[in-house]
Symmetry: C2
Subunit: 141 residues, 2 copies
């Protein structure tokens, strides 16, 4: 495996840039967030604030958990609640200058990791697929 | 990176064995399947038949797509429909004797890949996390 090439790869080279990333806003109702998730097909996406700074992530699991009532899924409650009330905020964040190895470490426990700059503006996401494709290029056995 | 060790790793070494894999049955109503998915926290799981042969996979996305009506999510329809009507059946399948590289190729496009024997009995699942952890062990830069 050609380590030398991995040493020259950075998160910026592998990430999906912000303009191509589906996301929701902190103040969106959960109903809207679930619709975005179902229509985009993604299980989870980043959450941004009005100035496009990264605020967290949200996924179908945590939304559906909210509406799991005693007898059925209580869908009506989704109209009254907002993304910022339940989104995940204790998430790993990478800088675009981070190394390939830092990216590999980060995706061990997360299907995707958000990338942001020092001021907190959202740059993009690093996915497991991007890391795996890079590794496949480097491995020739 | 130590290729020699990867050459000695097989899917059987990395997969989550069937007894530890959450799954649903082909004839379960979608309501039950969604409950299993929400309670287990997994976005998608394997589908087995009554004799524990692998039949397909099912996830929250495809279930929610089914109930996305014009005005809202039509949850009532979930009680009347069954897993086998909508599950994914064109899925990659690995044998436990497959090589690490075959496993890596398979998870490029799928978060997990089902493992089954020649008669179709479900053996377990190979996840991206297991592949990534193995690669991290082998890379020391
Ligand atoms: N429209 C599509 N076309 C082709 N393949 C698709 C696809 N949607 C999903 N997949 C495949 O399924 C994997 C899991 O997607 P999931 O939505 O659970 O999990 C995704 C999703 O939560 C997020 N993600 C990926 N791309 C995104 C985007 N453009 N915008 C927002 N979130 C994204 O990152 C996670 C990991 O993505 P990754 O690419 O490693 O892995 C993806 C990819 O291999
Ligand atoms: N209870 C838990 N504890 C710790 N971490 C958790 C977790 N549930 C999910 N994760 C983390 O989130 C990733 C994506 O999970 P997801 O459910 O979307 O996607 C999962 C799920 O669809 C399936 N899967 C994993 N383990 C399973 C199991 N024991 N039974 C059934 N399906 C499983 O394989 C996919 C990829 O799993 P992978 O481990 O690569 O990646 C997992 C893992 O890193």
């Amino acid at each position: 495996i050609e380590d030398k090439k991995l040493a020259d790869v950075y998160v910026a080279d592998l990430m999906i840039p912000s303009e191509k990333v589906a996301h929701v806003q902190v103040n969106n109702p959960l109903e809207h967030a679930l619709l975005v998730l179902v229509k985009s097909g993604y299980s989870a996406v980043p959450v941004l604030d009005a100035s496009y700074k990264l605020a967290g992530t949200i996924g179908k699991t945590i939304i559906l958990n909210q509406i799991l009532g005693l007898e059925r899924f209580e869908f009506e409650t989704l109209a009254d609640r907002r993304v910022e009330e339940i989104m995940h905020t204790d998430i790993p964040i990478l800088s675009r200058e981070a190394s390939f190895m830092e990216g590999l470490h980060a995706v061990i426990d997360y299907p995707f990791v958000c990338v942001a700059d020092q001021e907190g503006y959202f740059d993009g996401i690093l996915t497991r697929r991007a890391i795996l494709k890079q590794l496949r290029r480097n491995i020739s056995m």
